[in-house]
């Protein structure tokens, strides 16, 4: 079973994405900010990351930059943001994201790209 890490400081958003993903057959873990995300990454391996941008302590871009330097499986990452500008998109890719999506996300909009990135 593929394992996905959801990193977002909003509990309801995590729950929403968790429901969609578990129903689709994925195993889900959560972290409330980028630092907690890194701690989880150091303890378990993940197949995909769903990363919010605005979080306290360590934001999504910071998490990705750190992740891409760690000696852990470099799984694909989708950045989920409230901002829709091109410069934000670029910033995400430079930090190490594979994909960039704007909230709120409809269930089918989430599942198709994930399946694509996981090669399913």
């Amino acid at each position: 079973m593929k394992k996905i890490l959801i990193i977002d400081d909003a509990a309801t958003v995590r729950m929403y994405h968790r429901n969609i993903l578990t129903e689709a057959g994925y195993h889900v873990e959560e972290a409330i900010n980028g630092l907690e995300g890194l701690e989880k990454v150091l303890q378990q391996s993940f197949d995909l990351f769903l990363v919010d941008v605005n979080m306290p302590k360590l934001d999504g871009y910071g998490f990705l930059r750190e992740l891409r330097q760690l000696d852990v499986p470099q799984s694909p990452a989708i950045v989920i943001s409230t901002e829709a500008t091109e410069s934000d998109r670029q910033r995400a890719y430079v930090a190490g994201a594979n994909m960039y999506m704007v909230k709120p996300i409809q269930p089918d909009q989430l599942l198709a790209p994930i399946a694509l990135l996981l090669g399913i």
Binding site: A11, A31, I32, N33, L35, E36, L38, E39, L42, Q43, K57, L58
Partner: protein, 281 residues
Amino acid sequence: MTLDSISEEDFHKFREFFYRKTGIQFEPSKRYFVDKRLLERMEATGNHLFRSYFTMLRFQASGEELQILTNLMTVNETYFFREEYQFKCLVSSILPKLVENRRDQGPLRIWVLPSSSGEEPYSIAIYLLERWAAINHYDVEIIASDIDTQILAQARRGLYSNRSVAQLPKPYLDKYFTQTPEGHQICEDLRGAVEFTRVNLSDPADTRPYRNFDVVFCRNLLIYFDDLSRKAAAETFYDSLKPGGYICLGHSESMSRISSLYKIVKFPEAIVYQKPSEPQK
């Protein structure tokens, strides 16, 4: 006054709120434990509905009730070799890493807060003597601090109950303690090995002299602090550490909710936090 019982939904709401505030998470199996304490506080504050107690908890400007509740929810006991896996981490991973590239001739310095009645710093001393192969090659200085002068006096005295020493392997108990009518008395050598000092962690004037430590142990103290004090404490520890120094928190605590200054380091025995060796960009 008859108290409302705690519903499933209430427990869920409270659990999420408490987790967000303190980072402490309750498994469903802890229902009884949590309910009991919530009901206790509801009664003490005159709230017979959970809803009104919860509102008070959220909106009380002083945060006093949350603090009282947090104290109740956390288990306060201290004993020798508590959370032993971190001592193992110290001798198996942290100290070897520290001495690897060390050019400094001075002693390795360890700061322990809170000292409480001394079980933790004395445990570290015993562990170093018994389980660190390289102890004969290095001097180690252990300083243990607490805000409570009475508990410091107790720590310096070094007299312990059966309960306190229950986790110690018998050979260590025999080697480092003497049985007396008042309890287990720790030996003079160990009493002489730990410096106990009074410090208020939240007072910069108190903490200013505490610098150049290689390792800080601050386990199960920060959970009693509010968010801002916790952050300030993490920043104080940052300045108390040498570059490359390590800090260990309690097993249910995480720096990820407190401060972004430290590097997360995973050793086989534990996750610990490190002050970067070079200034960060």
